[in-house]
């Protein structure tokens, strides 16, 4: 917390970039600490016999054999993960965005109760959900299917997406929407034409979280699939580790490869968040 304070005391943003390079240095130091474990992962993915006992500080004799093995064995799973995560993002946004707006704007008694219910959903351990879903999905024929995992992944992310977007949408001035209503638009029109564009940043943030949640899901995939037909990358890695891992190089290589597509999307999304459009729109 002292650190926070020091930053605050440093004063208001000044607009001379030349004087800000020391902050970049500080940023790099923070980051170095945060990403060291990732360096370690990449480092060990490049070493032939890495493991707790034998990973060197630097990959002096790097080998790409881990990556070759990972791509050969896990390439398909990577595509599966992408399909599932992207579909989950779309489905989640389609369900959560209107709900977030509805809950932020219409103050009816049932709705405030529902907000509390949304919060409660976040308290339920995933394992409890996945167990119950197994029986349900078995009856519905959704085990081992893309649709099943997309539905389940979305379902898990929807409450959070609503809570997040609602917090932002609450700050949209009523007057903006009411102006549109006076012009004859119905609520849904007003929502699409005014609320969605203004909330672009919040929506992208929610999309990002949903993507990461679905991408990183492991428990649902483990419970709801049993064949290689639909196998996300997290499960691929888990199976790879299996009962007895002997070579961590390829496992870590898979982990590194698995984070690339998500990383690219993240950097793209970050630009939108940084644009500050939400703040700008309310002015």
């Amino acid at each position: 917390m002292t650190e926070t304070r020091a930053l605050l005391l440093a004063g208001q943003p000044n607009r001379a970039p030349a004087r800000k390079w020391p902050m970049t240095v500080l940023g790099v130091v923070f980051l170095a600490i945060m990403v060291f474990p990732i360096y370690w992962m990449i480092n060990s993915s490049l070493q032939a016999n890495s493991g707790a006992a034998s990973t060197a500080w630097f990959p002096i004799h790097p080998t790409l054999s881990g990556y070759a093995a990972a791509l050969r064995q896990q390439g398909g799973n990577l595509v599966t993960s992408l399909i599932i995560a992207l579909s989950a993002v779309v489905l989640t946004l389609v369900v959560a965005t209107p709900a977030a707006y509805g809950l932020a704007r219409f103050r009816m008694r049932g709705m405030t109760v529902f907000v509390l219910v949304l919060l409660i959903t976040q308290m339920i351990p995933t394992i409890v959900i996945s167990n119950a879903l197994y029986a349900l999905f078995n009856d519905w024929g959704l085990l081992n299917s893309y649709l099943g995992l997309i539905l389940a992944d979305s379902a898990l992310q929807i409450p959070f997406a609503i809570i997040l977007m609602r917090a932002f949408m609450a700050s949209i001035p009523q007057s903006l929407v009411e102006a549109a209503l006076v012009d004859g638009a119905n609520n849904f029109r007003a929502f699409l034409a005014i609320v969605v564009p203004i909330s672009k940043n919040a929506i992208i943030t929610a999309a990002l979280f949903t993507f990461l949640g679905a991408w990183g899901d492991f428990l649902l995939a483990l419970t709801l699939t049993s064949t290689p037909a639909v196998r996300p990358i997290t499960l691929g890695i888990y199976n790879y580790i299996g009962a007895n891992v002997t070579q961590w190089g390829p496992v870590m290589a898979t982990a590194v490869i698995a984070s690339i597509p998500a990383g690219v999307l993240l950097i793209i999304a970050q630009k939108y968040i940084a644009a500050g459009a939400l703040g700008g729109a309310i002015k």
């Binding site: 493991g51 579909s87 779309v90 197994y134 029986a135 483990l222 064949t227």
Partner: protein, 410 residues
């Protein structure tokens, strides 16, 4: 307005992609008029996965069935089996780790193998029959088995002028001599982790010395635990052993950071693949030379679940019998590094594979973990690793640790 139309378009497109996704996940078609047996195991990674697949195919051909193998990742197999039991979607043939057989048999989900005229091959070691039997009925048979022994780094022992230990005192002395703090080398390594793996590694010391899982609060058990604690307090065994799985232990050994370790034959492929590692193995040392080592029996059994389809279950029974024929046992031993259950085959196997000698000797007297307590074993196993952890972390002395452990052993 343009934006809103885009969103509607995306929504529509997603609905299409969802419905397409639903179609693409069809069920696997059955081959020709033949019955298809679904075989579920936890060999989820190669080389064992493809190795077992080929064995399944050949046994399938022998009994006249097509095979649909399903590989569930190790730790989640039991969970999956229970879910399948509740939704009546059990496979036709189910592989189980042997200490789980009685637990699952107790639910009624498994059919006795004798219903299909299958009995244990005459030459199998006694532990196999015991592990697969629940309330007098045989439910599972393991084609190959394993146990644990003491591996040692031959070069390190030679350099230190140490011979492989046979008694606890020799073990302690050798471990101390082999320890080289300056190089970060420990004389001895084993897994004392808070899972059933930790229990499994401690059992040879407990059982050989006359300890028993029914009551672990005994002087015999205390002696065994004292050995474990001594090895650590002498500095011969890393304090990290309370967090090490057997795989971590093997990694230490491979990296040259442990001169001796307790481990199983399934590590042989990795050990052999390590360049410059000159190793061998002996049975686990006993407290006195008069004692015979009693190790836990390891290995996976094949079982026939009660699916309700009598015809398929009969076929599955034949399939399990085929897997357990001595000839198949040898083939499975080849791909898994384990020991054939049939004693004569095991003896032949040891001749052609001298590295497994210590294990073929040990499994003869190996004891099934569920032999005494049956489906109550998990409670005892938890009590044992709890006591080991309490003692090694210094929260209690061995005697007190075992007393606390026993308090949970009900």
């Amino acid at each position: 307005m343009k934006k809103s139309r885009t969103i509607v378009a995306i929504a529509a497109a997603s609905a299409i992609s969802l419905s397409l996704a639903a179609c693409s996940s069809g069920s696997s078609a059955s081959a020709g008029g033949k019955q298809t047996l679904t075989v579920e195991d936890y060999y989820s990674s190669d080389p064992s996965m493809s190795g077992y697949n080929s064995i399944y195919t050949s046994c399938g051909a022998e009994v006249g069935a097509a095979i649909n193998p399903v590989h569930i990742a190790g730790a989640s197999l039991i969970q999956k089996v229970l879910q399948q039991a509740s939704s009546k979607t059990l496979p036709d043939v189910l592989m189980l780790d042997n200490p789980d057989v009685q637990q699952i048999a107790a639910t009624g989900a498994l059919a006795p193998l004798t219903d299909f005229g299958v009995s244990a091959p005459a030459g199998d070691v006694p532990g196999v029959l015991k592990a697969g039997t629940y309330k007098g009925e045989l439910y599972g048979l393991a084609p190959v088995i394993n146990s644990i022994a003491l591996y040692y780094n031959a070069d390190m022992l030679k350099a230190a002028g140490v011979t492989p230990p046979t008694s606890w005192d020799e073990l302690k002395a050798a471990a101390l001599k082999l320890t080289d703090k300056s190089k970060g080398v420990y004389g001895f390594a084993m897994s004392n982790i808070n899972t059933y793996e930790g229990t499994w590694q401690f059992l040879p010391f407990l059982w050989t010395n006359g300890g028993d899982e029914k009551d672990i609060n005994t002087p015999e058990a205390a002696q065994a635990l004292q050995l474990d604690v001594d090895l650590q307090n002498d500095g011969s065994m890393s304090k990290s052993s309370v967090n090490w799985s057997q795989q971590d232990v093997n990694n230490q050994f491979v990296a040259g950071k442990a001169a001796m370790m307790i481990n199983g034959p399934w590590q042989l492929p990795v050990l052999n693949a390590t360049k410059g590692l000159n190793f061998s193995s002996v049975p686990i040392p006993t407290r006195t030379t008069a004692q015979t080592v009693v190790s836990p029996l390891g290995g996976e059994t094949f079982n026939v679940p009660n699916t309700g389809d009598k015809k398929k279950m009969g076929l599955a029974g034949k399939f399990v019998a085929c897997l357990n024929k001595p000839a198949t046992q040898l083939k499975i031993a080849e791909i898994s590094g384990n020991v054939p259950s049939d004693q004569a085959s095991a003896a032949d196997w040891a001749k052609s594979h001298p590295q497994v000698q210590a294990f073929t000797d040990t499994v003869k007297t190996a004891r099934a973990r569920t032999g005494e307590l049956g489906d109550k074993w998990p409670t005892a196993a938890t009590a044992i690793y709890t006591a080991v952890q309490l003692a090694l972390t210094g929260k209690a002395d061995p005697q007190d640790a075992l007393k606390q452990g026993q308090a949970q052993n009900k």
